[in-house]
């Protein structure tokens, strides 16, 4: 007998702990320590086997070898992969009875998206992401398995190192303040994170998987593990640097044949109706044939004969404008946008020894947006350390400080603060070059210069003078203290904080459409969330076959939000943005809220012979947001896995098979202050205070929500694990949802908070992974995932015959509204949209009036459903020597979107399709009733009307039916081509890794409509809305280079 010793590494030369070193055929063995080292007493005739979760086992005969250096190759598939599950517990994936999907840090830094959420698009089955419309820095939304809940935002809970963090975006209050300030997207919480600091992302999809996280995890959980220091010689340095360029894709398709005006006439005088149609908003004017017409940029002169532009109305004092050629400017809008630049730089230092490790990382993101003067900057400093005080006591700490800021975030929504509004109502002849000098001559600071001063703000003036800036400082920190009481018992204390202060400043210059004397506003958001968790764990094996673990714990969650807004609605002196400069009494809006949840939980897991596994969890929450008699709610989950390939004789090509099933029942609370009504403050009348009823009736008898989930799935691998199939079917039943239901305002309230009926979601997720080609120097691996699901109302709330769950406005007034109605008679699917349209015959033909115009009908009708029918992600990775090519496709099929760009651009006559019928007039396709209302007789419509009249009525904004598009799209989401220099070469320069690559994202999109990207979400009021496009900014495609160093 002799003692052998050694170290086990992975392919990246990192030590692997917990590797089982076993003498084959005997019951003896050892395990590697944290540094991958082991010792074992053996005979020279023994054979030993090295096995570790996530790696291929390897066997050797001992013979005379004493010192061993073993490199284990990771398993090709994810069979034995270690994943992080609820409460930060590391589990072997094969033990789990529910669907989980993991992404490694390398995968998401392959093409680095500024917003982490976008990295998940296409990669994870069942996940649907939506980007905000205002470019880098805007909110990206993520939904797992569709919308089960009608309340809340349906987004998953984000957990960093086992501690929940905020993904919320607390929007500026748009009520009670001077109208005019538009919605601005300041970005969702997870967008603050740097991909470079992330070790792995695990997506827990169903409520089962998430049951231990409590009510906030009903929409699933995304678990983020931060990177730790790795062992290396001295201090390891890694640098990851990328620069990408963004170019707008998807500008509305404009016509370039007719300019501003009506009936073929136009003349500019003052942009305020003083000429012919020059205060107007439509492009049904003269054909762009180069004829001479007065324009805003035509030459004129002041009283002293000095040259001026036509639009320098004040200095011009009515002097004539030289008429200039009336010509097309096809790229006037495109030229307004810049090539955006996004630089992401990361440097990380790390080191480790026997007693601990550290990693310090700095990331800088710098974006200049495609919209002039818009930007986004972010600095992340992250520090992670681990330290072992003794064999038994260890600590891990992580802290990230994030500073993000912007000079200007674009105004969204409908109105003059959105530059797309300026463009969709802009005469097509306008040459924007003159507008860059945006003050009227002699009126700097007081009067803007523009092509239309009646309704529109000069887009350059808008972005350079009317800014929405912000600065946000955020600190995230967590510490985990772990003590091994004995071999089987351990105790773990974990505490984490997420706190930020966000100061948003909005300034408006004099002569702004909505603020003729300018304005200044500050919105202050402070947020903090503290999670503290104590857990006692037990872990043991009994005999050869039984394994057992259990834990009990308690958790406290405390969240506090403070919002304060102050507004000076008129200023005394132009250009000075502070409250001392206010000409009027300041207006204020303030809201403070807090919430606490206390919880206890327990879990246990039993494994038998590596093929049967059973997990049980229970948890009870007490939430402050529910009435005291019903603020306690329990939930549980049971899940089991059966690795049948271990027990059943399968053909050789059938490598692995596992069945899994789980069920759970999860409770959920609500936001603060949903129980008792309060009156709202209105602006004073003189010295008289005013108060009024709030619009929503709250509910003192709320009960917790309940989601019951069932999930079953199968994992199969074939052909030596080269082909993998993972199928999950699920059903979630949500009962007693806490929802604000719109009501007849004649009831005294336009909404009421209730425990709603029952909604059932069903769906299927299929994941395929495959190694298509595997040669010495070349490999091609691919994955595809498919998900399809839908939710239906299965039981209506009491006293309700039609479930109207919400609405989105397509116009500033309520006149043009899309209702979300799950009408049981029509299938009751969540996401069904209703709106108004045209009067039609039984055959569905549009009825026209004698005037040749279609007749609007006030009756609501079905327009479509905003949810996709299915989603497919398809990724390919090709490797040839050091070269690697990654392609990711994202296909969303089905669903409808209602477009305001279409409605507005058709009414105004700027869209390409409004060219039809300009000269000859339009005879609308439909019929005319020549009988009576009760006894209709329909004849073919033969009345011709002018194009302007026709489009004005057909795309009337109080008519949603005409502007519905199929929201399907296929995108080349990511392409990355990289080259990793050979180790043998770079090691000469003391470099461990050197990789360069070119990356591109959103390179191409195929979709039905020519005007906008259907993926983008809209924002109205304080929330993001679905199924409606609301003058979205053009999305962009980006491409650039990326360099990675490690030494």
């Amino acid at each position: 007998q002799k003692t052998i010793q050694g170290v086990v590494f992975n392919e990246k030369n990192e030590a692997i702990p917990y590797v089982k070193v076993k003498i084959i055929g005997e019951n003896q063995g050892a395990e590697t320590d944290e540094k991958g080292a082991f010792q074992l007493v053996v005979n020279a005739t023994d054979s030993i086997q090295f096995s570790a979760v996530g790696y291929k086992s390897q066997g050797f005969s001992v013979q005379s070898k004493i010192d061993w250096t073993i490199t284990l190759v990771s398993s090709v598939n994810e069979l034995d992969e270690v994943v992080i599950t609820a409460l930060g517990l590391k589990r072997s994936k094969r033990d789990l009875g529910y669907a989980i999907q993991s992404l490694k840090g390398e995968e998401i830094t392959e093409v680095r998206h500024p917003n982490l959420v976008n990295s998940l698009a296409g990669r994870v089955a069942g996940v649907q992401t939506t980007s905000g419309s205002s470019g880098v820095g805007s909110s990206s939304r993520i939904i797992i398995r569709g919308e089960t809940s009608l309340s809340g935002n349906n987004q998953p809970l984000f957990v960093v190192d086992g501690v929940p963090v905020s993904n919320e975006f607390i929007a500026n209050n748009t009520e009670n303040l001077e109208s005019g300030f538009h919605e601005v997207d300041y970005g969702n919480g997870i967008g603050d994170f740097s991909a470079d600091d992330i070790e792995s992302i695990n997506v827990l999809k169903g409520p089962s998987a998430a049951a231990l996280y409590g009510s906030r995890a009903a929409g699933g959980v995304i678990i983020i593990e931060t990177k730790e220091g790795k062992r290396s010689d001295g201090i390891g340095v890694s640098i990851n640097s990328s620069v990408t360029f963004e170019q707008i894709a998807f500008l509305p398709e404009f016509q370039n044949t007719y300019g501003q005006g009506s009936g073929g006439k136009f003349a500019y005088e003052d942009g305020l109706g003083g000429g012919i149609g020059d205060g107007g908003l439509v492009s049904f004017g003269p054909a762009l044939n180069g004829q001479l017409i007065t324009q805003y940029d035509g030459a004129s002169f002041d009283e002293n004969g000095n040259p001026l532009r036509g639009g320098d109305v004040i200095a011009r004092k009515g002097n004539p404008i030289t008429a200039t050629p009336w010509t097309e400017n096809p790229d006037n809008v495109r030229a307004f946008f810049n090539t955006g630049v996004t630089s992401q730089q990361n440097i990380a230092l790390s080191g480790a020894n026997e007693s601990g490790s550290f990693r310090l990382s700095y990331t800088r993101l710098d974006n200049q947006g495609t919209l002039p003067n818009s930007d986004f900057k972010r600095n992340n400093v992250a520090f992670t350390s681990t330290y072992n005080f003794s064999e038994r006591l260890s600590i891990r700490t992580h802290a990230t400080f994030i500073n993000s800021s912007s000079t200007h975030r674009p105004g969204l929504g409908y109105g003059s603060e959105n530059v797309m509004y300026s463009f969709l109502w802009m005469g097509r002849q306008v040459d924007l070059e003159a507008a860059e000098d945006y003050w009227q001559s002699g009126q700097e600071g007081f009067r803007q210069f523009n092509y239309n001063t009646q309704w529109l703000d000069n887009p350059y003036f808008n972005v350079f003078e009317n800014r929405n800036g912000f600065e946000k400082n955020r600190l995230l920190g967590n510490a985990i203290l772990k003590y091994e009481i004995s071999e089987h018992w351990n105790i773990r204390f974990r505490s984490g904080i997420d706190t930020y202060a966000d100061l948003r400043t909005s300034q408006r210059a004099f002569s702004t459409q909505r603020f003729k004397n300018g304005a200044y506003r500050e919105d202050n958001v402070t947020f903090s969330e503290l999670n503290t968790d104590l857990m006692l764990g037990y872990d043991n094996t009994f005999g050869e076959k039984w394994s057992f673990n259990a834990a009990i714990g308690a958790n406290n969650f405390t969240q506090e939000t403070k919002y304060k807004s102050l507004l000076a609605g008129q200023l005394s002196v132009p250009g000075v943005y502070n409250f001392e400069n206010s000409k009027v009494a300041l207006k204020a809006s303030q809201f403070n809220a807090q919430k606490q949840i206390n919880s206890v939980y327990g879990l246990t897991g039993i494994g038998f012979d590596r093929f049967l596994f059973l997990d049980l969890t229970v948890r009870n929450d007490w939430s402050t947001t529910l009435p005291s008699e019903s603020n306690s709610f329990a939930y549980y989950s049971v899940n089991g896995a059966f690795v049948f390939s271990e027990k059943i004789e399968l053909p050789k090509w059938f490598s692995y098979g596992k069945l899994r099933a789980s069920t759970s029942s999860v409770g959920s609370d609500t936001g603060p202050f949903q129980l008792r009504n309060t009156y709202s403050f209105n602006q004073n009348y003189g010295s008289y205070p005013l108060l009024t009823n709030s619009s929503t009736l709250l509910n003192e008898n709320l009960k917790p929500e309940r989601i019951n989930a069932l999930e079953t799935g199968v994992e199969l691998y074939f052909f030596k694990e080269r082909l993998g199939v993972d199928v999950t079917v699920y059903q979630n039943t949500a009962k007693d949802q806490i929802i604000t239901l719109p009501t007849s305002s004649a009831s005294g309230y336009s909404g009421q908070v209730i425990n709603g009926g029952e909604i059932q979601s069903k769906g299927i997720e299929i994941m395929l992974t495959g190694t298509v080609v595997k040669r010495q120097n070349f490999s091609w691996t691919a994955f595809a995932n498919f998900s399809k699901g839908a939710s239906y109302v299965t039981e209506l709330p009491e006293g309700i015959d039609q479930y109207t769950t919400g609405f989105a406005r397509l116009y500033t007034t309520a006149e043009n509204t899309v209702f979300y109605i799950a009408d049981a008679e029509n299938g009751g699917r969540i996401g069904d949209m209703y709106g108004t349209g045209f009067m039609k015959t039984d055959e569905g033909r549009v009825i026209y009036g004698a005037n040749g115009l279609p007749i609007r009908d006030n009756e609501l009708r079905y327009l479509g459903n905003y949810n996709p029918d299915f989603i497919v992600g398809f990724g390919n990775r090709f490797k040839y020597k050091g070269f690697e090519l990654n392609i990711l496709l994202d296909w969303r099929q089905g669903g409808e979107i209602i477009s305001r760009t279409k409605a507005v651009g058709s009414t105004s006559g700027v869209l390409a399709e409004t060219i039809d019928g300009r000269e000859e007039g339009i005879i609308g396709d439909g019929v005319v009733n020549v009988g009576t209302e009760s006894n209709p007789v329909y004849e073919e419509n033969t009345t011709s009307v002018s194009a302007a009249e026709y489009y004005n009525q057909f795309y009337n904004r109080a008519n949603e039916e005409s502007s519905v598009y199929d929201a399907s799209y296929l995108k080349i989401r990511e392409i990355g081509l990289s080259y990793t220099f050979p180790n043998s070469w770079v090691s000469k320069f003391n470099i461990q890794e050197f990789k360069i690559g070119i990356v591109a994202s959103n390179l191409f999109t195929w979709t039905e409509n020519p005007h906008f990207d259907p993926e983008l979400s809209a924002m109205q009021g304080t929330s993001q809305i679905y199924g409606v496009e609301d003058l979205s900014y053009p999305s962009s495609r980006s491409y650039g280079i990326q360099v990675k160093f490690k030494f």
Binding site: S262, G263, G273, G274, L281, F284, S416, T453, Q454, W455, R514, K516, T558, G569, Q570, K583, V584, F591, A593, K595, Q596, N598, T624, T625, P672, F673, R676, N677, T678, N682, Y685, G686, Y688, L691, T692, N693, S695, L697, P742, T743, S745, A746, S747, G748, Y749, S750, G799, D801, Q802, E815, G849, A850, N851, N858, E859, L860, S946, A948, N952, Q953
Partner: protein, 456 residues
């Protein structure tokens, strides 16, 4: 951090408030609605003004005006809470009833049958789908508009209680009595084609507790300081220059030497100081058909509507209106007395209301004196001039009497028919569908042409 059971108490706003704050709110918002909707819709429908770019209303594509519907019911809920308040009293209740009657008339005259008797019971009875009531009942049944006003008068005559927060009458209950009785005259006259209102109206007049002068009229002034400024003073330029003098106004003022013309409208840009021109443009022209007008030859609205924060007086009801109501009633024999006296008082009151001096000889110029067989038209024409920017009042009068004669907009989108109502808000279809459907059946279709009870 707060104790567990304290954490969910909302510290941001009060659960209970003294009724005075709600009363101030209803007066401020309700009067503002009168002026705001006068500008945005009432004056277009009555053809005091016409629109150039924002054409839906002017071309009779009226839509539903859901915003006003929702806000009116919210104000009525505020009024209900005043009545239900433990800190309230008889006087508050009576004042709340007067204002409720006014808001209810607005609802039924704009949308025909509307939820009324079942309305506002979401909180108290969990009724979130109120039935729609017939206009006749809303006006005449117990608890309806006229009943509320009548009983409010009786209560106010006997109470010794006081009210605060009264930004209109500063707590003077006699003024409220006069306002309530004046509203009764307005509404009795409104339904006089259907019901014999003679005795009741005569007794109100005989009793004398109605507006006695412009000092008593129900007006809440705008203030010079933000946030109580007249909305068009702070609006973007486009909103102001988009609204023009109508051709109807041009024609009505043409035979008159009337300083109100120069007050309501501006001289055209092409005018000279020595030769001021006031021209209108026909209502509801398509943009294309506006091309035949040179806008420099079309008047804008008066500068008091744009350049001053507090020159507009938001009126629930003016003394002038009451006088014209009485003139019409006298003319029709509903009450005794000389129509011409009331008529002349009304004209004088209108000048007074605007702070203008009636030119000497105004009452004797051609087309002003009554007695030539067109009295009703003359009364309604002078009332129309006086009702400029006062909510929808002039439109209601036109719907009832057909005077003054308006011109159907050439490019209207309503089959050459003058509309008489808004469509119901589509929210009612979405959330109160069954009641909505039966209401639509009851009025004969949710279109702009289904007439209410009093105008059938």
């Amino acid at each position: 951090c707060k104790k567990f059971d304290q954490a969910n108490i909302n510290q941001n706003a009060p659960e209970n408030v003294n009724p005075q704050f709600l009363l101030s709110n209803v007066l401020a918002e309700g009067s503002n609605n009168q002026a705001y909707w006068g500008w945005h819709a009432g004056s277009l429908l009555a053809q005091h003004s016409s629109n150039l770019e924002f054409l839906p209303v002017d071309r009779y594509n009226l839509g539903s005006n859901e915003g006003l519907w929702t806000e009116t019911y919210r104000l009525m809920k505020d009024l209900k809470d005043i009545k239900d308040s433990e800190q309230g009293n008889d006087a508050y209740s009576a004042v709340a009833d007067i204002l409720t009657a006014h808001q209810a008339s607005l609802l039924t005259d704009l949308w025909t049958n509307v939820p009324y008797f079942d309305a506002l019971k979401g909180q108290s009875e969990a009724n979130f789908t109120p039935a729609f009531d017939q206009q006749e009942l809303i006006y005449t049944a117990e608890g309806g508009i006229l009943d509320l006003l009548k009983k409010a008068v009786i209560t106010l005559q006997s109470t010794t209680e006081k009210i605060d927060g009264d930004i209109m009458y500063q707590g003077n209950l006699n003024q409220w009595i006069a306002f309530a009785n004046s509203l009764r005259v307005r509404y009795l006259l409104r339904i006089s084609g259907k019901v014999d209102v003679s005795a009741e109206m005569q007794s109100i007049v005989d009793n004398g507790a109605i507006f006695q002068s412009g000092m008593q009229e129900a007006v809440v002034p705008y203030l010079s300081a933000s946030p109580n400024q007249w909305v068009i003073f702070t609006e973007r330029e486009g909103r102001f220059v988009d609204v023009r003098m109508s051709k109807t106004a041009e024609d009505i003022f043409a035979p008159l030497n009337d300083p109100r013309l120069k007050h309501y409208y501006k001289p055209t840009v092409n005018s000279t100081p020595t030769n001021e021109e006031y021209n209108g443009i026909p209502n509801g022209l398509s943009r294309q058909n506006q091309n035949s007008y040179n806008l420099s030859d079309v008047s804008l609205l008066g500068s008091y509507l744009r350049d001053e924060p507090d020159a507009v007086k938001a009126a629930f009801m003016t003394y002038a209106e009451l006088q014209f109501c009485l003139a019409e009633a006298a003319h029709k024999g509903i009450i005794s007395g000389m129509a011409s006296t009331y008529y002349q008082n009304g004209i004088q009151a209108s000048f007074n209301h605007l702070g203008l001096t009636m030119p000497s000889g105004y009452l004797s110029q051609v087309s002003v004196p009554l007695g030539s067989g067109t009295d009703l038209e003359q009364i309604m024409t002078q009332k129309w001039i006086a009702s400029f920017m006062n909510g929808y009042e002039a439109w209601f009068d036109f719907r009832r009497t057909g005077f003054p004669v308006l011109t159907i907009p050439q490019d209207n989108l309503n089959n050459d028919v003058f509309p008489v109502r808004y469509a119901y808000p589509s929210t009612e279809q979405a959330v109160n569908g069954l009641n909505y459907s039966s209401a639509v059946g009851a009025i004969g279709g949710d279109n702009y042409n289904s007439k209410g009870w009093w105008e059938q």
